[in-house]
């Protein structure tokens, strides 16, 4: 059935190195073949260069909030920095994943 909604992209495969998950031969396996110890769903912070250093986060919060004319009471700084740190960690996790140059972004606008 033809559908308009949702994201539509051509099938593309990263051309660079494969991740551990991709190296698995087949995605489907017997339930009996469980790994001995399950991995946590939460990974530690990536250590790529894109994971911002604490001081850099302080600078980023202050400078960008000022540039965007967002109010930043000093009492809020710690909470904002904590949350931006989470975003940067998540961003770094995506950043280290190789994608081809012609990878299309997800959303499509329909006029």
């Amino acid at each position: 059935m033809k559908r308009r909604a949702g994201i539509k992209t051509k099938s593309k495969t990263p051309k660079k190195t494969k991740s551990a998950a991709e190296k698995k031969a087949a995605p489907v396996k017997s339930r009996a073949a469980k790994s001995a110890k399950p991995k946590s769903a939460v990974t530690k912070a990536p250590t790529t260069p894109t994971a911002a250093l604490p001081d850099a986060l302080d600078t980023l919060v202050k400078a960008t909030a000022a540039a965007l004319k967002l109010p930043l009471d000093p009492a809020w700084h710690g909470g904002v920095k904590f949350n931006l740190g989470l975003i940067m960690r998540m961003g770094a996790l995506i950043d280290e994943f190789p994608l081809p140059d012609d990878a299309e972004p997800g959303p499509i606008f329909y006029a």
Partner: protein, 467 residues
């Protein structure tokens, strides 16, 4: 209402109410009067409603009774009371979206599209429901309206952001509620409150005249105590809507006629790796469901952790962009946690957002390939049962992780690419635990058939606690 066909004094289902009203064994007015009394009696404990539309509901019920007296054909939801998360527009009320700031907005002039469709099928709106502020929430806590409470333990979270939807249905106040789900906001409260929740395919149900959060992930859907009720509501709400730009101009695909087809021919696997259960409750719930369905294989969802990370980044940036003007003018009127998240989101580097959207396209292609192998994938719905109100951290495997950001660990990788998913309640003791069933795009029939089969086997059930 409890004297309408029901067993053990439990509140009636939507299907039972509609049958009773259609046959004349009950009037819509008597059903709605009993529901309103029930809400008055029990909601002070649950705190699930922010407005009760009493006069409107009674007018509507009388109109249904008058239609029956004229021998007109009644809709499939005739006389069924329902309520909606307070981000749905209700004509004459201000749409709060869980906030303090929106209280200054004018009243909505027209109902949300899904309210109109449910009422066209005979259902009766009885009120607006509590929710997490601007839907940026997995807990059901709200500093402006108070927390919606878990009906199984009033000291515990309902889950969010559709907290009042979970609490009101789980607590037996209404048989049916609507919620929104951007990253898990229908599925998380369904899991914690022990009820069924459906997040349809992205674009399936119209979002017209609802307050947005993250347009590229926002879905609306029903919560109920039975799969039949969930399906009745879902079928009634389907259909193209010019007022929602992502609504596909396609014929509706009713699921009710398919519901009893059972599980024969459906290939099912349990998600492994990232979705591996890390505590007794999730393991027990997933194992019960897998065993009942005869599932004997696992499947790996490639890069699910990165999918969750990408959803997190896009949500932060897109959600914050929606609120930048309000942050500039009225930052002090947000709850502090929401404000900090939104300001941080507004500072997100564009590179991360664009990379996340590109990853989204790649990930979607990979996951869709899995549906050549299987028809449905089973995962835990949440990483734990309902946390205590105010609880900040919980144990997840060997790690302590934050409650507020982590209840959607297992839901985010699927709403990220718009797949349909239903949450089924496994009645563990002392607290229920949800299991998520996911299918390929536009295959709501698959997840609802499986949920119905599990319900028929007695493996999953929405147990109404004595509050």
């Amino acid at each position: 209402m409890r004297d309408i066909p029901a067993s053990g004094g439990a509140p009636a289902s939507a299907a039972d109410i509609a049958a009773a009203v259609a046959s004349g064994r009950a009037t819509a007015t008597s059903v709605i009067e009993a529901t309103l009394a029930h809400i008055r009696e029990r909601d002070p404990l649950l705190n699930s409603f922010t407005a009760v539309t009493e006069q409107r509901a009674l007018r509507r019920a009388k109109a249904i009774d008058a239609a029956r007296a004229r021998r007109e054909q009644l809709g499939p939801l005739a006389g069924v009371p329902f309520a909606v998360k307070n981000l749905f527009d209700i004509a004459g009320l201000t749409t709060l979206a869980g906030s303090k700031i929106n209280r200054d907005n004018p009243a909505a002039k027209r109902d949300a599209a899904l309210i109109e469709r449910l009422e066209a099928a005979g259902a009766v709106l009885v009120g607006a429901l509590n929710m997490g502020e601007y839907a940026y929430d997995f807990t059901g806590e709200n500093v402006h309206d108070g927390a919606s409470r878990n009906p199984h333990d009033l000291n515990r979270m309902s889950g969010g952001s559709s907290g009042g939807s979970g609490s009101s249905v789980g607590g037996g106040l209404v048989p049916l509620a609507l919620g929104s789900d951007t990253n898990g906001s229908i599925r998380v409260p369904a899991s914690l409150c022990g009820i069924f929740g459906l997040k349809p395919t992205y674009g399936r149900l119209s979002r017209a005249r609802s307050f947005p959060f993250v347009a590229s992930f926002d879905h609306l859907g029903p919560l109920a105590r039975s799969v039949r009720d969930l399906t009745l509501a879902y079928d009634a709400m389907q259909g193209f809507d010019l007022d929602d730009p992502i609504s596909p101009d396609e014929p509706i695909e009713p699921v009710m006629p398919l519901l009893d087809r059972g599980t024969k021919g459906l290939r099912i696997a349990v998600a492994s790796g990232y979705f591996k259960c890390l505590n007794g409750e999730t393991s027990a719930a997933v194992d019960r469901v897998a065993s009942a369905l005869g599932v004997n294989r696992d499947i790996d969802i490639p890069q699910a952790e990165r999918a969750r990370a990408a959803a997190f980044v896009i949500t932060a940036a897109e959600g914050s962009s929606l609120h930048v003007v309000r942050l500039r003018k009225r930052a002090g009127d947000f709850a502090s946690g929401t404000r900090d998240r939104l300001i941080a989101g507004a500072l997100t580097p564009a590179h991360y957002v664009i990379k996340a959207q590109k990853f989204r396209g790649w990930y979607r292609d990979q996951v869709l390939k899995l549906f050549n192998e299987v028809d449905a994938i089973i995962t835990p719905a949440t990483p734990c049962t309902a946390p205590l109100l105010g609880q900040r951290m919980f144990k997840h495997g060997d790690a302590e992780i934050p409650v507020a950001g982590s209840l959607g660990l297992y839901t985010q990788p699927f709403s990220f690419i718009g797949l349909p998913a239903v949450v089924v309640p496994v009645p563990l003791d002392p607290l229920p635990m949800g299991v998520q069933i996911v299918a390929a795009p536009w295959r709501e029939d698959v997840v609802l058939r499986l949920a119905h089969a599990l319900e028929a086997k007695g493996v999953v059930a929405a147990k109404i606690p004595a509050v």
